[in-house]
């Protein structure tokens, strides 16, 4: 068992927010998805107060060993999430973490107070770091902005609050320290790195949203360094992610100081990748893991 902010998980493998729609996956794979659920805690796609359509297509571009996405946080909004999605997510066999994003403090307060009052929700993740939405970037890239938001949200719920850190900041560790001082229970990183691609024929930006976020093995080395530096800077549990594609990769993030890891883009290549990575991690020798866990400080 793994303790994540007081929530007991059967293992350390989560999904990155926005990289797995368990409801759509159940439509494709049926209840076999629940029987072989690939994650130890499920993180929802980010919800906002009002519904969002998301960015115009094209939304994807394959890079060397990675992907740029420009999705733009499509979601049903808080009311739609509570009415349609939450009852289905409550049927998953693992604890639920709901990711929220607000465009101002009032929106954030309403989201956190409302979602935090739901019994189905074990944890909440605060998405201050989506690179596709200007406000998210400003809040998560600045330690004072992050601290102000977390301080306002802290009294509104007993549920653990995890701050998702953006890698598109001068010093993610400084943002993590500010989140810790303001009362956050954990941090998760990295979100996608800002990226761009040009249409090979027209030389115009390929993505409908002009820029997007880079993920996949292409960002793994950057993610590992940021997880390492943030883990050294705070006492909070760290959820590490960024290009994890194997148990060996996951072990590296745990060694760098993470308590849990998250799988994102690799699930696009194999819907069951989270389960494989968890099994590979368990198969690494106990001795190696005892030696290495938290060893690189």
């Amino acid at each position: 068992m793994v303790d994540l902010c007081g929530v007991q998980l059967r293992g350390p493998v989560l999904n990155g927010s926005g990289t797995y729609d368990a409801i759509a996956a159940r439509r494709a794979f049926g209840d076999e998805l629940l029987e072989r659920f690939p994650f130890d805690c499920f993180v929802s796609k980010t919800i906002t107060l009002a519904p969002r359509q998301g960015n115009p297509p094209p939304r994807l571009w394959e890079t060397p060993a990675g992907l740029i996405n420009s999705i733009g946080l499509p979601n049903k909004g808080l009311a739609g999430f509570l009415a349609e999605d939450l009852p289905k997510l409550a049927e998953l066999p693992v604890p639920l973490c709901v990711s929220v994003m607000g465009f101002d403090h009032d929106e954030l307060n309403e989201l956190v107070a409302t979602v935090g009052a739901c019994d189905e929700v074990a944890l909440m993740e605060l998405n201050f770091s989506c690179p596709n939405v200007e406000t998210g970037l400003i809040m998560g890239a600045d330690p004072a902005e992050t601290a102000a938001a977390v301080e306002a949200l802290r009294p509104l719920t007993q549920k653990p609050l995890i701050v998702k850190l953006t890698p598109n900041a001068t010093e993610p560790a400084a943002v993590a320290r500010a989140a810790e001082a303001a009362g956050a229970d954990g941090v998760s990183l990295i979100n996608t790195l800002k990226g761009m691609a040009l249409d090979p024929k027209t030389h115009e930006p390929w993505l409908g949203g002009t820029t997007g976020g880079v993920s996949g093995p292409a960002v793994r080395a950057i993610a590992l360094e940021q997880v390492h530096s943030v883990s050294k800077a705070v006492q909070l549990p760290v959820i590490g992610m960024g290009g994890i594609a194997s148990g060996r990769d996951a072990a590296d993030f745990l060694t760098a100081g993470a308590t849990c890891v998250a799988v994102g883009t690799e699930s696009f290549r194999d819907p069951a990748a989270g389960a494989r990575i968890g099994a590979e991690l368990r198969a690494l020798s106990r001795k190696e893991r005892e030696f290495s866990s938290g060893a690189v400080r």
Binding site: G18, T19, Y20, D21, I23, A24, A25, R27, A28, F29, G30, E32, L33, R36, K45, Q53, G54, P57, P58, R59, L60, E62, T63, P64, A65, G66, L67, N69, I71, P74, G216, P217, A218, T265, S267, F268, R269, D270, P271, A272, A275
Partner: protein, 266 residues
């Protein structure tokens, strides 16, 4: 729709045959369902050397409608046009593919007299649809050239063919064949036709517009870049009258009446 087994699985290649400008890949899929629905698709990658090519691509699996499912074997038709299709075109017998599927929602059961209209590689899902509907089912196919048009030989009966260069069949777009067919059989002349179509976006847009103009029902198998194929990435959206929908879980076959002009993918 037929559910997919959860996760990707290895499928050995049985045959990789050149058909004119295209490659036909046949794989053994003993662990998959025997009854994928025409219009459903699979995500394909090779077990070895997927990635580590030029520019470290391909990285993500590629989506292909299946062209035929027979005796536990799946047929896929592809054209070598990019890093993913290039690698797949080179796969040799005995090599393994990673496959996930069948995914998505395929064609509905025909409500009227079915009329199959394909463009280029979009002929693929119409092949299994004709298998299901019977060899007498009318098929109209458009290709760039005679080389591409060799794929028409996979169909039963005698599909009507149009080519861009006139090297075989009628020197026209396939939508012209469709227009002639609809002129020959106006909606008042007995059983109303339902168009089943797959092809490049400009062709599907023309089919959509023509079906709308003639008041004919049409089901279009659309295409959009996909990363995952099972609703996870939200990348493959197309605009509909109800807003964006994900082609991988709400399609790839959509009712033409639900689409907005110009919204047939990219």
């Amino acid at each position: 729709m037929t559910l997919a087994p959860f996760g990707r699985r290895l499928a050995p290649l049985v045959e990789n045959r050149r058909i004119g400008a295209y490659q036909l890949l046949i794989v053994d899929d003993p662990d998959g369902p025997r009854d994928p629905q025409p219009g459903q698709f699979y995500m394909l990658a090779t077990e070895e050397r997927w990635g580590a090519g030029e520019g470290e691509r391909p990285y993500l699996p590629r989506a292909f409608s299946f062209a035929r499912a027979r005796e536990g074997r799946l047929w896929f038709l592809l054209e070598d046009i990019g890093p993913g299709t290039h690698r797949l075109a080179q796969v040799g017998e005995g090599e393994n593919l990673w496959i996930t599927g069948p995914l998505g929602i395929g064609f509905d059961e025909p409500a009227g007299r079915p009329l199959l209209v394909g463009g280029g590689i979009g002929a693929a899902p119409l092949l299994c649809l004709q298998d299901q509907l019977g060899p007498e089912t009318k098929v109209l196919l458009g290709f760039r050239s005679a080389d591409h048009a060799e794929a028409a030989n996979l169909f039963a009966g005698e599909p009507q063919i149009a080519t861009d260069d006139g090297s075989v069949g009628k020197h026209a777009l396939v939508t012209e064949l469709l227009r002639e067919e609809l002129d020959l059989r106006p909606p008042t002349s007995g059983l109303r036709p339902t168009v089943y179509s797959c092809g490049p976006p400009p062709m599907l847009e023309a089919v959509r517009a023509l079906a709308s103009e003639r008041g004919v029902a049409a089901q279009l198998a659309l295409e959009s870049g996909m990363a995952c194929g099972f609703g996870a990435c939200f990348g493959c959206v197309v605009p509909t009258k109800d807003g964006y929908v994900r082609l991988c879980v709400d399609g790839p076959v959509l009712d033409a009446a639900d689409l907005v002009p110009g919204g047939v993918g990219h």
